[in-house]
């Protein structure tokens, strides 16, 4: 164990951990929303994320940005960010909708058991990831430098860069917006109603299918933005990265209490921190193992996660 590495740059590991965690949290939201409403592990959500990440890169390419271009000037940076986020969100929400329509709705109509949903989800996930793999010839695709990674300021001896601030900031902002939407809006009330009791909600005149679609679209859009932030942070995208990232995000959702929006945020940030500290202590090759050990230990003591499962129970 290398305590020296950890404590000599504790602030740095914390900031990067939070950045990684913010992306986990955004993806975890999709899992948690769908699970909260349908009691279904949307295994294909990792590919919703990948679709957004690719769409952002290709969208920028359509605007003439290739992997070597660097965007400068505050205005154009903001413009490209917004364009990228929009394209990614639309692509991801679209992918999520297609998955819902093709892979889940037919099963729901037949009242199929949960196992069947899981298998179609896995099937859809493999098929989509492979399609991207074949299209990109399984080679990494480089993203343009939309935001230059300059050091912005220092906190407790740790440098905070523009990208890190952007990722954490936008993730938090979206979380707050989503929380307000679920708790204050009319559709949000519908989502909570369906999450509590599908049949009763339907009897009360709520269009269940539309609510489910909305849930997939919101979760998808969040994952799409996460995909764009991933592009900016990592700079390169390979078709196969979604699987492990999705697994981590799901772990984060479980960690915080699946079905609980604030739990997803807490779980994501926590997982990011744990992973990064573990990388410092044991080496980067052990970080995934540490992440899962933390999950197993936590589930033994708190079987419903840190904050418990509660999308339906949140008060209006």
């Amino acid at each position: 164990m290398d305590f020296n590495a950890l404590f000599s740059d504790f602030g740095g590991y914390t900031i990067t951990g939070l950045t990684v965690g913010a992306i986990y949290a955004l993806v975890a939201l999709g899992y948690t929303l769908v699970y909260g409403v349908l009691r279904l592990i949307n295994f294909a959500h990792s590919e919703v994320f990948i679709a957004g990440a690719f769409a952002a890169i290709w969208g920028w390419a359509a605007f003439g940005l290739d992997r070597d271009s660097v965007v400068s000037g505050f205005g154009s940076i903001m413009l490209y960010l917004l364009v990228g986020a929009l394209i990614a969100a639309v692509a991801s929400a679209g992918t999520a909708t297609v998955i819902e329509r093709v892979a889940y709705r037919p099963l729901r109509k037949r009242n199929a058991p949960p196992l069947a949903f899981l298998i179609t989800a896995i099937g859809a996930s493999i098929a989509i990831a492979e399609a991207f793999g074949i299209y990109t010839r399984r080679l990494p695709v480089g993203a343009p430098t939309v935001v230059k990674n300059d050091v912005l300021f220092e906190v407790f001896g740790a440098e905070v860069t523009v990208v890190q601030l952007l990722v954490i900031g936008s993730a938090l902002a979206m979380m707050v917006a989503l929380d307000l939407f679920i708790n204050r809006s009319r559709i949000g009330r519908g989502i909570r109603a369906v999450a509590q009791d599908q049949n009763t909600a339907a009897l009360m005149g709520i269009n269940k299918d539309r609510i489910i679609l909305v849930v997939f679209i919101i979760g998808g859009a969040m994952a799409g933005v996460a995909g764009m932030l991933y592009d900016i942070r990592i700079g390169t995208l390979t078709y196969s990265v979604g699987f492990l990232l999705g697994l981590k995000a799901f772990t984060a959702a479980v960690l915080g209490g699946i079905g609980n929006l604030r739990g997803a945020l807490l779980g994501g940030l926590l997982l990011g921190l744990v992973e990064n500290y573990a990388s410092a202590l044991f080496g980067a090759n052990w970080k995934d193992l540490v992440a899962f050990v933390v999950l197993v230990v936590l589930l033994m003591f708190r079987p419903t996660g840190l904050l418990g499962e509660s999308l339906g129970r949140a008060r209006a």
């Binding site: 590991y13 990067t16 070597d68 990674n149 050091v151 390169t236 980067a284």
Partner: protein
């Protein structure tokens, strides 16, 4: 109903018997048709043509293709065909493919297996059956001491490349603080260990990451490198992770020079890292610059495959040519081919070839070159002197 069923079963049984009878007659004619003359002989390429490491395999396959194409033009009346065996670099798939090659009696020699892991799984088959194979790229040292009779490699092993990379860092870059990272692959870790041995105390830290596309976020490693103040980084591994690491290092403001082995020596590395970040990267390879290869190799390769030759294209071309020379000399059985390769000595486009007892390339023939990324291109820098 019952009767029908009994009849059905009976019918199946009779059919099975009949088949068995016919089978007995046919069994001798199938594959054992020994290739009496050199015409119709085949050479196989064994390596990854799809999957995550495909770029390296495709380079080599292009070289083999060119060699066979040339041979066939010169010997129009007596063609040799290429059999691609796509292993995806996966040891699990290797035995079935190795056996497939053995089944085809027309296959007289193999170029490959390309990687060390699949070699471990496939080479026992070749050795047992006496089918000669020349690997253009499997550089794990221990492959030569497993007693395989048919193993040859046309490149130097990690013991020649690793120390050379270390010497380059020490003597040419004159780096006093070096950070060593590897991807835990047999190849990458082996190379990194050799580099560490040469550099000794100037290694300020080392780190292991996950290879094979399993990891894409190297922020923790970047943080460590940054705080170590290293001026050079050695990476043992393949191009995909190397590209990501370089890009993320540069994004974090680390300007230390990245030095890596032949697994990174591929245009895909520059694609992944971006030309700006990749600039100045040093890549070592126990191979001569393919573009400096003698004769018209480069033009011919481009004409046939529609792209520049990459790492090991030339070595694969040479390996195929050794086998083709054997066929040309009338060695039409596997035993004779094995003897021929054992005793072979001659010039190729990348080096001169002659093998030792254990199938290694004669140490005096091994040349390790350093390449540099300049303006988005891999250009030869210098040959690294021995010791």
């Amino acid at each position: 109903m019952r009767q029908k069923f009994a009849r059905l079963v009976g019918g199946v049984a009779i059919a099975a018997l009949a088949m068995g009878g016919v089978t007995a007659c046919k069994s001798d004619s199938g594959t054992d048709e020994a290739a009496g003359d050199s015409c119709g002989a085949k050479i196989a390429f064994f390596g990854a043509l799809t999957g995550p490491a495909a770029a390296l395999g495709v380079n080599m396959n292009g070289g083999v293709k060119l060699a066979i194409d040339k041979y066939n033009k010169e010997n129009a009346d007596c063609q040799v065909t290429l059999v691609p065996l796509d292993s995806q670099g996966n040891p699990e798939q290797a035995p079935a493919l190795a056996q497939q090659a053995l089944d085809d009696a027309k296959i007289l020699g193999i170029v490959g297996p390309a990687f060390s892991g699949e070699s471990e799984a496939a080479n026992p088959f070749f050795s047992e059956a006496g089918l000669v194979h020349i690997s253009p790229s499997a550089t794990r040292p221990s492959l030569a001491d497993q007693g395989w009779k048919t193993f040859f490699r046309a490149v130097g092993n990690d013991y020649s490349q690793g120390p050379a990379a270390g010497r380059y860092i020490k003597d040419v870059l004159k780096a006093e603080k070096v950070y060593v990272v590897d991807d835990q692959s047999a190849y990458g870790a082996g190379l990194a260990d050799e580099v560490k041995k040469v550099l000794g105390a100037s290694v300020v830290g080392s780190e292991k990451v996950q290879g094979e596309g399993k990891q894409s976020d190297f922020s923790a490693t970047v943080t460590k490198v940054k705080s170590s103040g290293a001026t050079a980084i050695f990476y043992g591994g393949y191009y995909q992770e190397a590209g990501l690491i370089r890009k993320q290092l540069t994004a974090a403001g680390v300007t230390a020079t990245l030095v890596a082995g032949d697994g990174v020596n591929d245009a895909s590395y520059i694609t992944g890292a971006g030309a700006a970040a990749a600039e100045g990267t040093i890549l070592t390879c126990p191979c001569q610059p393919a573009t400096e290869a003698r004769g018209s190799f480069v033009e011919d390769f481009k004409a046939l495959n529609g792209g520049e030759p990459g790492t090991y294209s030339d070595v694969a071309f040479d390996a195929a040519n050794i086998l083709l020379a054997g066929i040309k000399a009338g060695n039409t059985s596997r035993d004779k081919m094995l003897e021929f390769v054992k005793g072979y000595s001659g010039e190729g486009v990348a080096a001169s070839y002659k093998f030792t007892e254990t199938g290694e390339l004669d140490p005096t023939q091994v040349k390790v070159w350093a390449y540099k990324v300049v303006g988005g291109q891999v250009v030869p820098d210098q040959e690294i002197p021995k010791s």
